[in-house]
């Protein structure tokens, strides 16, 4: 007998006395929240010691340039389909850069798919302006642009907007560890600096 058949057989015999009718999951937890979602998002992202900056649609390139200068970021990589005027001096990820090239870059600028106000989370789904997952991982600095219409209140609202079959990365603040005496330290293996630029 194959391992598959044997395990499935063990499960069926273990459950022989169990009522197989599907349990209905009660979903009377909070589904959505009202109010100033953008303000809450900004507050909660900042709570993770990420830098949060607000700007308007026509001043995005200036706001990005200001942040790159502030953090001393020289070489920047961007997804090929990021608006070209956002970071004019950037190296685009087309054809895809190899890992040493990503490692040599100072930082990366991307868009995102969804922002979650309550948890201060941004979600990347490899959609427009986001590229593949390695891009936002290897460089030590990540600036992420979030449009206000991408911000939802809660995790259930985000799950409803996202496609589970795309590769997703949920980011809540910069890389961090609490493994040493439970002291939070920013920056272990992922980007140590996260800047969230809210547009709108």
């Amino acid at each position: 007998m194959t391992a598959r058949e044997e395990i499935l057989g063990r499960i069926r015999s273990a459950l022989s006395t169990v009522d197989k009718a599907e349990i209905v999951v009660s979903r009377d937890y909070q589904q959505a929240i009202e109010g100033d979602l953008v303000g809450l998002f900004a507050e909660r992202v900042a709570d993770y010691r990420a830098a949060v900056v607000r700007t308007t649609a026509d001043t995005v390139p200036e706001a990005i340039a200001e942040q790159l200068a502030h953090f001393g970021i020289g070489s920047v990589v961007t997804p090929a389909d990021l608006p070209a005027d956002w970071v004019p001096q950037a190296v685009t990820d087309a054809p895809p850069l190899d890992v040493p090239a990503l490692d040599a870059a100072d930082g990366v600028v991307t868009a995102c798919a969804v922002g979650i106000a309550e948890t201060g989370t941004i979600v990347l789904d490899a959609g427009p302006g986001q590229s593949r997952r390695a891009l936002t991982l290897v460089p030590d600095f990540h600036l992420c642009v979030v449009r206000t219409d991408q911000i939802v209140g809660t995790v259930p609202e985000a799950i409803a907007r996202l496609d589970g079959t795309r590769p997703l990365t949920w980011i809540s603040g910069p890389s961090a560890t609490s493994d040493i005496e439970l002291n939070r330290v920013e920056g272990v293996h992922g980007p140590r600096t996260l800047v969230v630029l809210i547009v709108g």
């Binding site: 391992a3 395990i7 499935l8 063990r10 499960i11 069926r12 015999s13 273990a14 459950l15 006395t17 009522d19 197989k20 599907e22 349990i23 209905v24 999951v25 009660s26 937890y29 909070q30 909660r44 993770y48 895809p96 890992v99 040493p100 490692d103 948890t119 201060g120 490899a126 593949r132 997952r133 390695a134 991982l137 290897v138 995790v155 259930p156 985000a158 799950i159 409803a160 589970g164 079959t165 795309r166 590769p167 997703l168 990365t169 949920w170 980011i171 809540s172 890389s175 560890t177 609490s178 493994d179 040493i180 005496e181 439970l182 002291n183 330290v185 272990v188 293996h189 992922g190 980007p191």
Partner: protein
């Protein structure tokens, strides 16, 4: 499940030794106290916490009651998305599959994301025997690996180490580290970053576990903080994930519950820094070869037990460890298993079998039954109920041998059977107690009473029984 940690004594012996370690108790008291406070604060933020717990319980019960159906659905979805699904009856089979896959990729080393399942099957040891080096990349796991140590906590495996002990380990074991390294946590983390960077950028094969697997979409989920998970899940060419068969949730929507319960319960955060999800293989993004190993290793045994089954709801948040008065004083090593604390006390004996070794039957007794673990469990596992149930199983398993409890219960049954015998017995106890007791207390007793009286004093029986007092009114 593989046997107990080699030479591990039963819990009472291991616990007594741990209690004598002042440094360990200080480290643990500080760490568990900190995390209890953080968890309480973020849970209090949620007015709907109880509703989330109920939903979490129902999602996992729905999974377990129809586990065969959901596993087949997951297998279909992962395969359709370009992944390969393997099934492993036990630790040896799972390890063999991993070793064959690493060899097929012509690699002699792997990077690893922290995973309870691979610790449970002792994969690192099996890989080492096969000549394959495994590099743990989670900071705490790295501390444990470099310290030639055992993990002692589900979430923070090196919780028993303080910063100066960690500095000493790095100084001794990490190439390139000099005496200039201080015990500042930021500096220690930076040393680990530099140490592992090259491995991440060059590794060909990664091994992970998963926090959740979604049946209706075929999606795997890893929840982490440091980015080492993202590194392993994204950069290598081949990804191998070893996942317990109970890790499923039926639908994509179910993640909305789990991703709220898990971070708040485990690290006391609204959300952990990084969550990665992937479905099979995505062309041009991440590993182009993905293998999912579905692991039984004793889980179907637990599934067959009506009361014990609820332990399989566990999402490995470790909240129960952090509130347990027994864990706080003994630490995780005393439990002799990768799953310590209250959840380990009910999960380990079920995965191994309650009489499989010397440690397992003692674990259900490693509790005061205070119920704090049930109060914090995000998926409402009634750990005290399961503990009592497994205690009965452990005692039943010893039946046939005349035990002190059994003899005592037989005598008690006979005594309570008649009011005359009870009256006589009470008078004898009253006299006997005064002979044995000193200053109103009975201390250590010989023979079959040694186990009970060795660790506690017993009050001497009163001079007058309730019955004689009642009659004299």
């Amino acid at each position: 499940m593989t046997g107990t940690w080699l030479g591990m004594p039963p819990f009472p012996v291991a616990a007594r030794e741990a209690l004598g370690n002042e440094q360990l108790r200080t480290n643990l008291r500080k760490a568990t106290g900190t995390i209890r406070g953080k968890r309480a604060a973020v849970v209090d933020e949620r007015a709907d916490w109880e509703a989330l717990r109920v939903a979490g319980k129902e999602i996992k019960d729905r999974t377990l009651h129809n586990l065969d159906t959901y596993l087949e659905q997951l297998e279909r979805k992962v395969t359709e998305s370009g992944g390969v699904v393997h099934w492993a009856r036990d630790a040896a089979e799972a390890n063999r599959i991993v070793i064959d896959l690493v060899r097929a990729a012509e690699a002699d080393e792997v990077v690893k994301v922290k995973s309870m399942a691979t610790q449970e099957i002792e994969l690192n040891e099996a890989l080492a025997e096969a000549g394959i080096a495994a590099y743990e990349t989670d900071l705490a796991e790295l501390i444990v690996q470099l310290g030639h140590d055992r993990p002692s906590h589900i979430l923070v495996p090196a919780i028993h180490r303080n910063r100066s002990e960690i500095r000493d380990i790095f100084l001794r074991e990490m190439p390139g580290v000099t005496a200039a390294l201080t015990d500042d946590p930021a500096e220690l983390a930076a040393a680990a970053r530099a140490h592992l960077r090259r491995k991440f950028l060059t590794a060909k094969v990664a091994v992970s576990g998963a926090n959740f697997a979604v049946a209706d979409s075929g999606t795997l989920v890893v929840v982490e903080s440091e980015g080492n998970g993202r590194m392993c899940l994204t950069l290598p060419e081949v990804l191998i994930s070893v996942v317990g068969i109970e890790k499923l949730v039926p639908t994509w929507q179910d993640l909305e519950v789990m991703l709220q319960l898990l971070p708040r319960s485990s690290t006391g955060e609204r959300m952990n820094p990084y969550t990665s999800t992937w479905t099979g293989v995505t062309p041009g993004d991440g590993p182009q070869e993905f293998h999912l190993i579905l692991l039984d290793n004793g889980r179907t045994g637990a599934l067959a037990d009506d009361i014990g089954r609820q332990a399989l709801r566990c999402i490995r948040c470790s909240a129960c460890l952090n509130v347990c008065p027994v864990y706080e004083r003994t630490g995780g090593h005393a439990y002799g298993s990768v799953y310590p604390g209250p959840i380990g006390a009910i999960l380990t004996p079920q995965l191994r079998g309650v009489t499989a070794d010397e440690v397992s039957p003692t674990l259900p007794f490693a509790s005061t039954l205070c119920g704090a673990c049930y109060e914090v469990c995000p998926v409402l596992i009634d750990i005290p109920q399961a503990l009592v149930h497994l205690r009965a199983k452990a005692v039943d398993a010893k039946r046939g041998k005349p035990s002190a409890e059994r003899t005592a219960m037989r005598v008690a049954q006979w005594v309570f059977g008649s009011s005359r015998r009870l009256r006589l017995a009470q008078r004898l106890v009253s006299i006997g107690g005064r002979v044995l007791g000193r200053r109103g207390r009975i201390g250590r007793l010989p023979g079959p009473f040694k186990g009970w009286s060795g660790a506690r004093d017993t009050a001497t029986p009163p001079r007058q029984t309730f019955r004689t007092w009642w009659e004299s009114r």
